[in-house]
Amino acid sequence: MVLKEIDSKKFRDMVRVATHRMSQNAEFVDSLNVFPVPDGDTGTNMNLTIESGAKAVAQNTSASVGDLTESLAKGMLMGARGNSGVISSQLFRGIYKATQGMQTLNAQELANAFSNGVATAYKAVMKPVEGTILTVARVAAQEGANKANETDDVEEVMAAIVNGAKESLKTTPDLLPVLKQVGVVDSGGQGLLFIYEGFLEGLLGENFADKYQPDKGEMDEMINAMHHQSVQSQLATQDIANGYCTEIMVDLTADVPNKKPFDLEEFRSHLSELGDSLLAVSDNEVAKVHVHTEYPGQVFAYGSQFGQLGKIKIDNMRIQHETIVNDSEHKQADVDFAVIAVASGNGVRKLFESEGVNRIISGGQTMNPSTQDIIDAIKKSGAQKAIVLPNNGNIVMAAKQAAEVSDIPVGIVPSKTISQGLTAMLSFDADASLDENVENMTAELEMVVSGEVTKANRDTVINEVEIHQNDYLGIVDGDIQVAESELIPATVKMVEKMVDEDSEIITIIYGRDANQKQAEQVIAALKQQYADFEFEVHDGGQPVYDFLVSVE
């Protein structure tokens, strides 16, 4: 029978078998590795690269081949390791570009995709060396293109690609002297041949389940790997959409009332609507399912239409996750050099964390952490040395005291505002010494002018500024300079006092009581005067201060 097109199901099979084949032969490929650097890791690298691609494909539930080649290419790019990994990621990037938007691939399209892969791969190299993975890919694609002119059978085209790769691989020692010297074929080319052979097997596998079916052990391993990925402690517990990790085994041989015929693809697609992180495998006798869902009952009900339910397992992942997050509070510490910052507001915390701060102590204007709080944070960090950013004038003293009694060397960068703290972090260098860091980071403090906007809680006169209760105050580097009844004009006026001729960047962090729209109104007003400036807006979520502004 002539197979005229590759659909998404076939393509998934191709990727799965190819990944399996590559992983089984990774060590053999490693042993061939003498070029460009004989470090014996080509097979390992290619394996990690294609695995990363296969994972992305497995997570994509699309029924279009074009979508799957895109996932494969992106996954391989993200996971690319070593020269051969980078080259194969580029090959598949070209394949993805040529198949964009296609639901299925016919023989001509398949051949074109491989040719385009080669064209793309060759572009990113200045001096292509013949006798390498590039040569193998090129000859293989050429053979595929020739075959596609004769037939519209995709299996024959794929077989021609594999044969081309095989023949070309044999010639690599003649093209590349270093291979001849050692008496091996090119390792990257061999790796590519394994992948292509896997594609062909996946494509031919009418009885695919017989050829490659993850056994129970492998399935468990896959599940563990997925769990390992998804329980990152950055994720907030309340963000888990599907709370129950549900696993069932369905005995397909057992008779049940109104038994429905089993089709794995349909089974999978139905379950994918009930949740995510879906893994479903089956042979003739049993189907095994792992899925994260909000409705485990529906998974049981659906599964039981095809046979008797065997093993059943449900875990509440929200509870698991809370435990993990609590554990990782202690674990995350394994750093040599910790930076500890005082901050409040989720957005502000995230900004600090994104700059490399390891621990955040909650606090700020209205709730100053004690010396003990700071000592505790230093201890919990488990680091050999630490830097503390107090980010508030009132906390600098407490931080200094903490540094004096700490068991490890602690440096204080006397930041008085959040803006200063954020700017100081830019020059933190984990490889430099404690003293160097304190010096460099302290120097940064002067680079930034900090502004804070908050509400007055009583009538008063300070610095010759008359203030009424509920006025918005603009505080520049700790001095109240502006009092206005409206938020936006108060902020604009404050910024005007902060800007000087060297200023270039204005950053606005809006707090709990303000919103992005208001921040944009401020920017719109400022842009009229400061057209050349760069503006940045962040959601800080901090209490007390409607806006934190920094001018650099």
């Binding site: 650097v37 080259i87 580029q90 200045m126």
Partner: protein, 120 residues
């Protein structure tokens, strides 16, 4: 500055130009490196890709004792994993310096000066 290697029969003096050529050739033979860039990006034009004769403008060599530290300025093709391409450059530069000149490398610092979009 140059690297001096003492041997039983005398002194071998390898000039920085030689090292730059070896480093440049090793770097550019790596997949994903589409060119060498000048270390003085602004003076020499930011996107300028160096030709072979000018490789030394994209390579900085510092030597002490029998070890050297090399800075390599490269241009990488768009759509490639830059960190991995850079790591490959480090490996091959180190390997080729040892293999061709017998010099141990203390560090190979890769500076990705630019990314070139290759037409698709």
């Amino acid at each position: 500055m140059a690297v001096k290697i003492k041997t039983k029969t005398g002194l071998i003096d390898i000039s920085n130009g030689v090292i730059a050529t070896v480093v440049g050739s090793a770097a550019t033979s790596n997949y994903g490196v589409v060119g060498m860039a000048s270390k003085n990006a602004i003076r020499d034009g930011f996107d300028g890709i160096l030709n072979r004769a000018n490789y030394r403008r994209g390579v900085v060599v510092q030597s002490e004792d029998n070890e050297i530290t090399v800075d390599v300025y490269i241009v990488v093709g768009y759509g490639l994993k830059i960190s991995e391409v850079s790591r490959n450059v480090q490996d091959s530069v180190k390997f080729n310096l040892k293999n061709q000149l017998g010099i141990d490398t203390k560090a190979v610092n890769v500076i990705v000066q630019s990314v070139k979009v290759l037409d698709e």
